[in-house]
């Protein structure tokens, strides 16, 4: 018998055994949420009081009733529901004030929808489309049109700060806008997913966890690479994925690299990720960067000279998030300090934004991150091996030590297994050149920088 059906029948019998207020008080919002193969049922109750009361006063009758309905039942266990309290619905949007009436401002960051986790600021309207992301954009639109069917899962990959989160959240917001509450959307960074799993395991609440994730129609998981190597999370995600996929629910994932390059990820997951549509977002070209800057300026209602915007677009090639940071600082200079923003000020700002965070990084950290990224050991980097899959990471490590830490060639050589300084020079030179000509290498290096940055 279905769990819901079984519980409904049990409740019908229980109801006649007690007074109406008692029944409502203790069994309101109760659910039968799980059944183990050994015949143990798990009932979730509204609060701790209900749990104590039902356990002490009604357990015997509940067990008897359930056994009479289904003779495979052996045991009943009670837990307190951790499903979020249903928020009361606001009475329409009628309260929206006219622009002429002053309005109490709220903290913008609190606008995140508690149920879907989506931030309303991410929409397609503010998403600039260019050659580097048009495929991803088109695939997203296709997903919205034909949820769970055409491109499932949709896997978006690309470097940090290029708009993966923006695109994914826009999909979620767009679906919510067209379908309202009939479609359940959930956006979640994979870090939160891992934390939820850890919490549930610790508190023996896996049933709740499963129910929450498996009841959605559109599941969006950001930065899926973080679950790689975390066995319990991969396992749970695998089952969630299958449960949703088999029921034609849409799954959207993002990562900093394509599935086949995430080699610590379990094979069965990798092959599932590859089964749908894989699209990449690469670095925006100059025109697109310029369009993005113009659009941001329009949003914030500020104007800066064209020569300055062009200069920023030219200088900031790698990361849109950093462009935003630079624009915010420029706004600050203009608005608050009342300074005319000149090219030299902007140059200064860009310098600070892009170089600031590598001050406290040590060479060992660089080696550690690089070896982790390529799934090698640090010893591989310093050893003499000349296999291609080691040589490139080794050269990248040298390049980063030079680029980020400004170490001398001979120091780097010493650090990297007593190599000659000319070897290091050659490595830095080579990677430096590849950076402009080879998109793959450029992607890798910016991902590595991102990791170092977050240390």
């Amino acid at each position: 018998m279905e769990l819901d059906q079984l519980w409904k029948s049990a409740l019908a019998e229980l109801e006649v055994q007690m007074t109406q207020p008692n029944f409502l008080t203790w069994f309101k919002n109760s659910r039968l949420i799980d059944r183990s193969p050994e015949g143990e049922l798990v009932v979730s109750l509204a609060n701790n009081f209900a749990k104590e009361w039902v356990e002490n006063k009604y357990h015997k009758s509940i067990l008897e009733i359930l056994i009479s309905l289904d003779d495979s039942v052996r045991k009943v266990r009670y837990i307190v529901a951790i499903m979020p309290v249903e928020p009361q619905k606001t009475t329409g949007e009628a309260k929206k004030s006219h622009s002429s009436i002053p309005q109490q401002a709220t903290f913008d960051e609190f606008k995140i929808d508690a149920e879907t986790n989506l931030h309303p600021k991410y929409t397609f309207k503010s998403y600039v489309v260019g050659s580097s992301n048009e495929l991803a954009y088109a695939a997203s639109l296709a997903v919205i049109k034909d949820m769970g069917k055409k491109y499932n899962p949709l896997f978006i990959y690309g470097g940090s700060g290029l708009g993966k989160t923006h695109l994914m959240q826009s999909i979620g917001n767009q679906i919510r806008q067209t379908h309202g509450n009939t479609i359940k959307v959930k956006y979640i960074p994979s870090e939160k997913f891992v934390n939820d799993i850890v919490f549930s395991i610790k508190n023996k609440r896996m049933e709740d966890m499963k129910r929450i994730y498996r009841s959605v129609d559109v599941l969006i998981i950001d930065d899926i690479q973080f679950i790689a190597g975390k066995a319990a999370s991969e396992e749970e995600f695998f089952h969630t994925f299958n449960a949703l996929y088999d029921n034609d629910k849409q799954i959207i994932l993002s990562s900093d690299r394509p599935p086949h390059e995430t080699s610590i990820l379990e094979e069965r997951l990798r092959s599932r990720f590859s089964s749908g549509m894989i699209v990449d977002i690469s670095y925006p070209d100059y025109e697109m960067r310029l369009a993005i800057i113009k659009q941001k300026l329009e949003q914030e209602h500020i104007s800066i000279p064209d020569s300055v915007t062009e200069f920023i677009a030219e200088k900031m090639q790698r990361n849109i998030r950093e462009i935003e940071g630079v624009l915010k600082k420029i706004m600050f200079y203009q608005d608050v300090k009342g300074v005319e923003v000149t090219r030299s000020i902007v140059e200064d700002i860009i310098d600070k934004t892009t170089k600031h965070s590598f001050k406290n990084v040590t060479p060992n950290q660089v080696m550690q991150v690089v070896s982790n990224f390529f799934e090698l050991t640090e010893k591989d980097l310093t050893d003499q091996g000349r296999r291609k899959e080691i040589v490139e990471p080794r050269q990248i490590a040298m390049f980063l030590m030079k680029d980020l830490l400004g170490m001398s060639y001979s120091d780097i050589g010493h650090k990297m297994g007593k190599r000659d300084h000319s070897t290091v020079m050659h490595a830095c030179d080579k990677i430096g050149k590849l950076l402009t000509s080879d998109q793959k290498i450029a992607n890798k290096i910016s991902s590595i920088k991102e990791v170092i940055n977050s240390k």
Partner: protein
């Protein structure tokens, strides 16, 4: 049950229970108060199934026992008794209250009908803190919460235990207050971090019961769905709110372009005065001019008139004007006790941060009223 108890103790014990029980009408027993004896002590308990409060008072117990009676009847009797010594006795399902010249018989219900108050499984790990300090800390932040039912996760107080400090925060999305207590001011034997949202109502009840005496200690216990506050005199157990408190770190201004230092009392006075003319949005305009040694508070009302107030101030930064809800600003001032306060501003549409001067454990952030 049979016992003799002093009236003053009895009053104190009953007063701690508050009125939480009487609110729920669906289950009549919730209007009752459970009376139990244990080792020359009487324990009174009430609950509304969201939280439970129990108070303990000393008594001379002749025979142990228990009963539940309607709290409203019990408290109106106890509050009006004159004699110092009161005897309580149960006969069948009745509670008999006796003094030299007075006797009452209240119809009661058996203890078995009363909800079982949930326990916290792990009583080994707790935080111990001075009652007065905890009370002041809660008082300093709860004005920023309105117990929202629309956003349950905003309807409570964040309790953020980070091992070497505890943070309390409250917000209604227009303003946010945060108080930090450092580890040298409490004792704890919990090694992992704990983050939970406690319903505003729970904290309000707690503040009401907690004594201001600094020597009284309060112990705080928790599991994943409940929090328990316990002293020698009372116990309060409450559910916690499911959900994540908003990540408010990002709204705290890291730097401010304008900094104003004013006398706290003068600002409070100015707010009360100028507030008299404000419109229904409670708007007052704060005018800051570079190089001038005071700030101006201005409010006007098309029907009533207008007024302005000058407060001497130290100003760092440029000129600007910003509009606030004066009541929100006033709420923030109430919990500051230092002579001077600093107000940090970043623009007329950006949050302002208010801090007591030279004190780092408290701040209050407030959003302005948007001027179109």
């Amino acid at each position: 049950m049979e016992l003799i108890v002093l009236k003053t103790n009895l009053r104190e014990g009953i007063a701690s229970l508050g009125k939480i029980g009487s609110e729920n009408a669906s289950l009549p027993i919730l209007k009752n108060c459970l009376i139990e004896t244990h080792e020359n002590k009487i324990k009174f308990s009430v609950t509304n199934l969201e939280m439970a409060i129990a108070s303990v008072i000393p008594a001379k117990v002749i025979q142990d026992g228990s009963i539940t009676v309607p709290l409203s009847v019990l408290s109106s009797i106890i509050n009006n008794l004159e004699s110092e010594r009161v005897s309580l006795e149960t006969k069948a399902n009745n509670l008999i209250i006796k003094t030299e010249n007075y006797q009452a018989k209240i119809q009661g219900t058996k203890k078995e009908e009363f909800p079982i108050i949930p326990k916290i499984e792990n009583e080994k790990e707790y935080i111990e803190i001075e009652s007065g300090l905890l009370k002041d800390s809660f008082l300093s932040i709860i004005t920023a919460s309105q117990g929202s039912a629309i956003r349950p996760e905003l309807g409570g107080i964040l309790f953020d235990y980070q091992v070497n400090f505890v943070k309390f925060a409250a917000t209604d999305s227009f303003r946010l207050a945060e108080k930090t207590i450092n580890e040298n001011r409490y004792k704890a034997n919990i090694e992992q971090k704990v983050k939970m949202i406690v319903p505003l109502k729970t904290i309000q009840e707690l503040v009401r019961i907690m004594s201001e005496k600094d020597d009284e200690k309060i112990k705080i216990y928790f599991d994943q769905s409940q929090i328990l506050f316990r002293t020698e005199k009372f116990e309060l157990v409450s559910r916690v709110i499911n959900g994540d408190f908003p990540d408010y770190q990002q709204i705290i201004p890291k730097e401010t372009s304008i900094e104003v230092i004013v006398n706290r009392d003068q600002l409070v006075n100015a707010l009360k005065l100028t507030g008299a003319f404000s419109d229904k949005m409670n708007e007052i305009r704060v005018i800051i001019k570079e190089g001038v040694k005071n700030i101006e508070l201005f409010s006007s009302n098309p029907i009533l008139g207008e007024n302005q107030y000058l407060i001497p101030a130290k100003i760092k930064g440029d000129s600007m004007e910003i509009v606030f809800n004066w009541k929100f600003l006033f709420d923030g001032m109430k919990s500051i006790t230092t002579e001077n306060v600093t107000i940090g501003l970043n623009g007329d549409n950006k949050p302002a941060i208010i801090k007591p001067m030279n004190v780092t454990d408290y701040f209050y952030i407030i959003m302005p009223i948007k001027s179109e």
